[in-house]
Assembly symmetry: D2
Amino acid sequence: MALNPIPDLLDALRASLAGLDDGRVAEYIPELAHADPTWFGLALATLDGHVYASGDADQPFTLQSVSKPFVYALALTDRGLDEVVQRVGLEPSGEAFNATRLEPGTGRPPNPMVNAGAILTASLVADGFPRVLAGLGAFAGRVLGVDERAYESEVETGDRNRAIAYLMRTAGSLQADAEQSVRRYFRQCAVQVTARDLAVMSATLANGGVNPVTGEPVVTRDVASHVLTVMATCGMYDFAGEWLLRVGLPAKSGVSGGIAAALPAQLGIGLFSPPLDDRGTSVRGIAACEELSARFGLHLMRPPARTASAVYLVENRDRVLVRGLQGDFGFAAAEALTRELAGQAVEGGLLVLDLDRVGQLHPVAAQLLGTLIERLTAYGMTAVVADGDRRGLLPQAHREFGALELALRWSESTPIRA
Amino acid sequence: MALNPIPDLLDALRASLAGLDDGRVAEYIPELAHADPTWFGLALATLDGHVYASGDADQPFTLQSVSKPFVYALALTDRGLDEVVQRVGLEPSGEAFNATRLEPGTGRPPNPMVNAGAILTASLVADGFPRVLAGLGAFAGRVLGVDERAYESEVETGDRNRAIAYLMRTAGSLQADAEQSVRRYFRQCAVQVTARDLAVMSATLANGGVNPVTGEPVVTRDVASHVLTVMATCGMYDFAGEWLLRVGLPAKSGVSGGIAAALPAQLGIGLFSPPLDDRGTSVRGIAACEELSARFGLHLMRPPARTASAVYLVENRDRVLVRGLQGDFGFAAAEALTRELAGQAVEGGLLVLDLDRVGQLHPVAAQLLGTLIERLTAYGMTAVVADGDRRGLLPQAHREFGALELALRWSESTPIRA
Amino acid sequence: MALNPIPDLLDALRASLAGLDDGRVAEYIPELAHADPTWFGLALATLDGHVYASGDADQPFTLQSVSKPFVYALALTDRGLDEVVQRVGLEPSGEAFNATRLEPGTGRPPNPMVNAGAILTASLVADGFPRVLAGLGAFAGRVLGVDERAYESEVETGDRNRAIAYLMRTAGSLQADAEQSVRRYFRQCAVQVTARDLAVMSATLANGGVNPVTGEPVVTRDVASHVLTVMATCGMYDFAGEWLLRVGLPAKSGVSGGIAAALPAQLGIGLFSPPLDDRGTSVRGIAACEELSARFGLHLMRPPARTASAVYLVENRDRVLVRGLQGDFGFAAAEALTRELAGQAVEGGLLVLDLDRVGQLHPVAAQLLGTLIERLTAYGMTAVVADGDRRGLLPQAHREFGALELALRWSESTPIRA
Amino acid sequence: MALNPIPDLLDALRASLAGLDDGRVAEYIPELAHADPTWFGLALATLDGHVYASGDADQPFTLQSVSKPFVYALALTDRGLDEVVQRVGLEPSGEAFNATRLEPGTGRPPNPMVNAGAILTASLVADGFPRVLAGLGAFAGRVLGVDERAYESEVETGDRNRAIAYLMRTAGSLQADAEQSVRRYFRQCAVQVTARDLAVMSATLANGGVNPVTGEPVVTRDVASHVLTVMATCGMYDFAGEWLLRVGLPAKSGVSGGIAAALPAQLGIGLFSPPLDDRGTSVRGIAACEELSARFGLHLMRPPARTASAVYLVENRDRVLVRGLQGDFGFAAAEALTRELAGQAVEGGLLVLDLDRVGQLHPVAAQLLGTLIERLTAYGMTAVVADGDRRGLLPQAHREFGALELALRWSESTPIRA
């Protein structure tokens, strides 16, 4: 068993939702109908570039509407916010993804997350589809390809999108050729990705536009925050308000079953499960986001910390690891520490965790650290926790000793447990 | 001159916007028409309970629609999220504040921030208006009163709200008496507050429901985050999407010229300036929020820190103050440190700031600390900064010395400057 | 057996539809729920003041929405078309009767047949409800009363109409007090009538505003034609287009089960059967109108005649009745002739009908005249038809004789049959 | 000067409106922009096949939306009412001609007069465009051609109609290819006609489907009445209700400046004047229809006669014309009589008009007969009127003489004037 408990948490979460067999695989595009309804992949990318993957996280599928925020980021980069906003609005429409309502007077589609807005947005990216494909690849951190059969499938069945494009032509907001614009949009929808890719793409947005895996700056910090905002208010169509309240993650779903979600400055999430609910969103994907938000404390309006988390004391000497924590700890901070300690583990060594300066310890943080201690112990390390507030992490050290003194005494074979 | 530069920053911001004389004072309620269009108050409440107030921050005015999120918080408390959501939706309506559209089938108003939703929400608070008034007072941290003339004024002119109430009666969503419900809503709109109150009320939401001034728990952490979410998606009506993108603060405005805004886990803001734009929102209030967001780095999707801010080293000995900083510093963290140091200043003493473990220093944080150093120097202190990355704070200490050694050497009258 | 076959036709039509037991009696106003679902009355008023009544044509019920066109006629009379049109539109709304949409800018309700328009219309009638009640009585040709229990019932349950009134107050189109306007409207809805009344009221409109029974001019010819037009385009709400196509009669229905319908310059129809379809219209009432339109050739766009019907030759001498017909004959012309001849019948006498100048004989006209001849023969008269085109009316006269000569020969006991 | 005064009435009406120079020639289709704004043609076709033409009644122009009711008639013929109604609704939409709203669930366009409905309707005509062209020609009574440049012009600029077609494809109501359907519709819009043609086409509908000039049965009586109904309720788009109230003629306008209008069983009207109002309807065309309706008493809800008009007595002997009139006389009956008498005029002869059995004489009928008498007198005839009710037609005959006796006495050189 690996020392880091997070992969197990993700596997358990996925397993707990596998029985959720509501929903139907999309059929309106023939290619999508071939998807296996049991596919279920989940990935989580941290802002220092680590990716946790679980289940069918490497199963390729087409981006579909998940492409929208990322192509919007490219358009913002090429044209600037003001020009883009003159052509595509920013307001939630309260309507379905394929609504045809345009803003009276301007002919603007309401926002870039509905099809109308996405078709127009795609037409604003400079240099055509090669730039779109390269840009999506930069977000994912690898070269992406197009599923040509899915593309052809959409071209054949995409009459509603053609209608929308012609309406925008008439309204004057779409200035490019209608059929070509629709085809460029279909092509971006047919780009193949995996849940792992979606996690990295989302993490790039959460990371201020810098891909945390490749280190490449893909878009500016401003563009990344603009895209996250639009995902928050418009990403889940007419369900956006309840989604943000219950899940609290800027997100975008697609009819192939993918969901990309991000928590600014914390992490990116990728999900994939083809069966969809009535709104066209992955049933297990929604459930997984809800569970992650609730269990891992990931919610935009509920930051983990009032005073920020920090590891103020880091001592690695001989076979002794000492960590002094300060502030409030949520999932992201606890994950980083857990992963780092799991990587430093040494048989027969000692871990001292000093929590005396810690304010709030989110349950998921306590769970991660607690499980880590159990596993390190099983692995052959000694671990003690100095915690005057007794938050429940065991074993507790003698109260009279500080963390550094504990480390010293351990070297001297003095009893250190409470 | 006070040592803390923040009051001066707020005064300067307010002065820079005083000349903005667009907009008109609301006239549809006669009482509102008496407001002085030059009134302009601004307040900022931190989560440790400090309130900065500038201009007409103590001028009383009526809450109007700013009451909506706070009464929603009370209804959530009394009925629970599920019951409230069954009666009032959560989706942005993309419509004006006084729209009459109800959800087909359920008769639910779209969200609690439009009048329909607010009238219904008010009817859900247990025990009637005394509970509403007490609850609003708990958010503000003081006993509030009702402007009876404004109330009577609304009763006389409120036919549209009566229409909305009767529509909800018919649709079955409003179960209380229509006229009584409307009057309760008018009464909550007529509660008198100040910009200072709005800052504290907002800070209570940002602080997980605990009033940071009084320490009183007003609503639960869950309720506070729900209310912030609804403010983010629906608080600015049909302008919500652009507001969240450009300003990035969950907020609620009222026709008396007030705006309440909050940044979760960071701070609360209160604004007051009567002239309104076409949408019925304070012109200077909007401008001030935009400036605060841009200058102070307050934006939901652009958290100040990737690794959190912390003061890992705090040494106060003799007349020497040593502070070691770690992580990324934005406004809120810099404000807390600045305020604390300004309070500790001692003539003839030494301040050592060690920035070597600092990642990003937001410009506003650099400005606050830089101005503080200038003022402490003028006050008679010696201040040095240890910063291998040379972020521009001066004077720089000798590079070869660490922070504690600097403090020691200063006591020994050894030169410490670079 | 009476000689005039029309009562029997109406009874047969009613009997053929009695088994139609779809639909439900209205329950939203408690008083209406007491109606007997088997009640079924039908009346037909001609423009010379004869009323045919069949079934429960004298059962009282409340006017409900059937009041709308008649009160509109009063408002047009009191205010003139231009002033009324400034306050209430003329366009079909394509919406349900209780829709709340008002015209942007003007706040006008779309037309006087939806509740909003009817409430506003009622407020325009000069001198209040006594004038309304007297006006409705003039249309009906008798003094009408109000069902006070139905009125109270509506006052208690009429929140949607209150909502509509307050919306119009806010929009500025309703200038009277909202509650009073709604109550005046409820009171007009509670006026008690019978199917016989509805037939006379409709015939008054068809007759250019002159009550054909009392001879009283109720409204002008212009007002009558305006009201008929609005009934044609808006009377059946969102079903108006299909109704006019399939039935072709300007009409207005009410939730108590009444329908008033009129064919300009021809006749008025009154129907009453409480069970309603989903749109709130009497199921048997609709079916009866469809049958009358189809069997009797009553359709606005299918006038009975291209060259008009006339009785060019009228000779009543001794026991001989001679009638020479010219032009095309539909129901109304045939009815008048049939009724007149039935009244003139004399045992042992002779009727000669000369059809040689007749163009088209609508099937219902042939049926009426044919049945009349059978009955006159049974009654003891001799009847012969001179008809070179042999339209099927029997017995045919000798072809070589003209109508007058036939009459002469009959006196001389010469054989006159073909 | 011709004896028949009607051409002069039409010329005068046209001249009185020529100065009405509001409106603008349509420019959205480049070909239309070439129209001369002073063109003004007017034609009136009677149901016995006479056509009055005035002004630019033979100037060719493209049908545009005036094609819609006639192609609808062809679709009804080919598919039957029930099948057509399943695909295209019958309800006025209250929206502009190019609205995109389709019926939820069915995807039906609201009616065949808006573009969506017309595109779908065109796709229902069997055997494609040749059948459409032949059918339109049968309505007009001559072979029609297509303005290919106007067609090409529409193909280039018709993106909105493409959008509508693709929407209907998606909704499932349009089953034919979108681009082909739109092109067929554009082609029918580009068929060239004249105001004279429109009068005959309208008269064919008014005449129960039989072209009154050629005598050809084009569509059935049922189809003709269905089309007239839909013109009445939907023909003038969101102006239909007011049009029917004020003008009272089922009608259809087009952006090339044409209007076709019909009064069932009475006549057909064709108008042409390119400058359009904001709704896209010919300004002078509307004014001319209003004038015709008011002056000539042409209004669906105001039939000229309560008892029908007839000429019961027709005596032409020697140079004596005797006409005995009976019933009420409006424009159509008076026109037929006037035209017939003008054709029979004989110098030195006598006309005797017996009005003793006449009920109402519409002012236009009095005007026509009065002018005729003046002209016949000028031409050298003697004319007298026997009219106990003294309706103003002069010269009046001696009251003691009946019409036939007058004729006899005239032959005998007895004074016959009053």
